[in-house]
Amino acid sequence: QQQVKQSPQSLIVQKGGISIINCAYENTAFDYFPWYQQFPGKGPALLIAIRPDVSEKKEGRFTISFNKSAKQFSLHIMDSQPGDSATYFCAASYGSGGGADGLTFGKGTHLIIQP
């Protein structure tokens, strides 16, 4: 059972456009929702993260929108640049108080920004 479903699988956006990647989760115990960026041959790197007590978080050109009732969250990349071309993973976790579990990842979105 896949606990975090991510879409689309791949995305092509023109330079300067808005890239939107969506994720849906099933486990209502999740309370931490990060997005990771991964370049070929590299490990995932944290991009931005949100907790369910806020509906939106913005850092530079990157924004997470969170809908707790729908159990969905999305990543918006404004003014997309060729350097943003990478694979993006949403993830979710719970474990307040030192719980183990770590992160449950989506399957990833391969983003290509065309110049």
Partner: protein
Amino acid sequence: GAGVSQSPRYKVAKRGQDVALRCDPISGHVSLFWYQQALGQGPEFLTYFQNEAQLDKSGLPSDRFFAERPEGSVSTLKIQRTQQEDSAVYLCASSLWWDASSGNTIYFGEGSWLTVV
């Protein structure tokens, strides 16, 4: 070190061979994770350590997989009698203290690419 360091970066093993993958977490990081990433997929949780204690090994796919962190710093993931389905990137990650409420970031290494032939 500046980041999570993994070795070897690339390993080709013959089916049935034992392999050992090493992870050097960021200095001072208490929490350490191992993930498996198949080609074109997201990372999947294998196991978690807090200092030297292995608190969760529920993601290890079989008893051929074994992980240890005897002194609470360096960790080794060992795979015995490797099979072709073990071919994947094995990612190590560390965090100062993992707690979903703490806001501490989980940092990933670049991975060990294992190919079983």
